[in-house]
Amino acid sequence: MRQEFSQELKTLHVDFSELGMMVNAVVYKSAKAFINHDKDLAREVIDSDYLINERQMSLEKRCFELIALQQPVTSDLRLVVTAMKASSDLERMGDHAVSIAKSTIRVKGNTRVLSIESDLRKMADAVKKMSDEVLDAYVHDDEERARAIATEDHGINDFSRKIYSECIENMKQNVDTVVGGMDYMLVASYLERIGDYVTNICEWIVYLKTGKLVELNSSTEEDQF
């Protein structure tokens, strides 16, 4: 009985990591598609989103079953709860990747601002780094690392603010950039949200390890435009 349960918990852990890798791949692809104006890649992201949703739902369903049938307690319960909650964070990250992909399709043909695109590329790289790292921290149950990763979100927010002001500045100077600029701002905010979801996952890793629910990067002094 217990042995089977332990096996199921291990499988859950592995499946969560796989879902994470799928999500990271679409986050990466969507950012790349946006920067390279690659409509095909963007479509690929949009078309593959259902796979992530299905994976997440099946993982969630299995968590419900484990709770009902095995009645886990203490660290077992935390593992199940973490998989359940953090997987919906992953799924939301996937949704934002889809939004970025949709912007890519819209943005084609607009007047481009290269300096902003360069900042978006840097921001996307930073987000990708964070989301890769968080999976690694999850796999290794590494609470310290999770706390460190969450602090990287400050850098993401800095990018977000910078891109916002750049866009406004450009829109003021050249009305042709208004349409494209709106999309730049949207993409920056999607990336910024992805960073927030990574921070949520960091919080779940802390919970998994310690049983404490923490708020990393309290939003009260953050995200002020």
Binding site: M1, F5, Q71, P72, V73, T74, S75, T210
Partner: protein
């Protein structure tokens, strides 16, 4: 924690040369339900029986240490054990119906205490059976034999019998392990109702039962108290690895 009603200090119990309890320190809060859990042979039932001197009945058992009920040493030479057991009642794993009517079963303790007033006895029967959540089921057959009741009902008669003498503390040694889930749930609900008025100490092998009904949980292992904390803490995030391993089923 409410103020303690029972305080146990360095309680050791020997069966002959074998030490079954290695110095237990535990305080039971008034008006709370405390669950004692642990694998078979860990000493939890032995410790429970120390609390109303049930172990006196076993010749080879020797208890040392200090157990106080409201500050009174219950092992003091001048302790009236009958009075003690009236204040600290006990319910066993197997329901023990006496071969008399339901009515006589409930007032057994009062009869022993010499109560003869019919009105008093009638009132005690109704009150205790109501508290034991059995009144509606048996009010029309109070004078039928208790042996004709189901296991769950017999166990509630046993509880009513303890309640009739108005104890302060009720000790329960796996009171629902012989019962089906519905009867167990009835007894659990009843315990939650009784919590206001009584202090309840329950030994159980059913982890979910401990987590559902108790305020505090004590985990025993091989004659030692390993961890004692609010039930939420024990089941969400215990301090000791042994506790975690036991309640999540990794050993035992």
């Amino acid at each position: 924690m409410n103020e303690p009603i029972i305080t146990a200090k360095d309680v050791r119990l020997h069966y002959g040369d074998f030490e079954a309890l290695h110095g237990i320190n535990l305080e039971f809060a008034r008006g709370e339900i405390t669950a004692m859990i642990g694998p078979s042979g860990c000493g939890k039932s032995t410790f429970l029986r120390c609390l109303n001197r049930m172990n006196d009945l076993i010749d080879s058992a020797k208890v040392s240490g200090d157990i106080r009920l409201d500050g009174q040493d219950i092992y003091a030479p001048d302790t009236d054990v009958v009075k003690l057991r009236k204040r600290v009642g006990m319910v066993f794993q197997q329901p023990v119906p006496f071969p008399f009517s339901i009515y006589e079963n409930v007032i057994y303790g009062l009869r022993l205490a010499g109560v003869k007033d019919r009105a008093k006895l009638d009132a005690a029967v109704e009150k205790s059976l109501r508290q034991a959540a059995l009144w509606d089921e048996v009010k029309d057959k109070l004078h039928d034999s208790a042996l004709g009741l189901s296991g769950g009902q017999q166990q509630r008669v046993a509880i009513a019998r303890v309640l009739a003498v108005e104890p302060d503390v009720i000790l329960m040694d796996e009171p629902t392990s012989a019962l089906d889930p519905i009867s167990s749930t009835q007894i659990e609900n009843m315990l939650l109702e009784l919590r206001e008025k009584y202090t309840i100490i329950i030994v159980t092998h059913n982890m979910q039962q401990a987590s559902r009904i108790s305020d505090r949980t004590a985990f025993f292992l091989q004659g030692n108290l390993i961890e004692y904390a609010p039930t939420k803490k024990i089941f969400m995030n215990p301090d000791k690895k042994e506790t975690e391993d036991y309640i999540s089923g990794r050993f035992g």
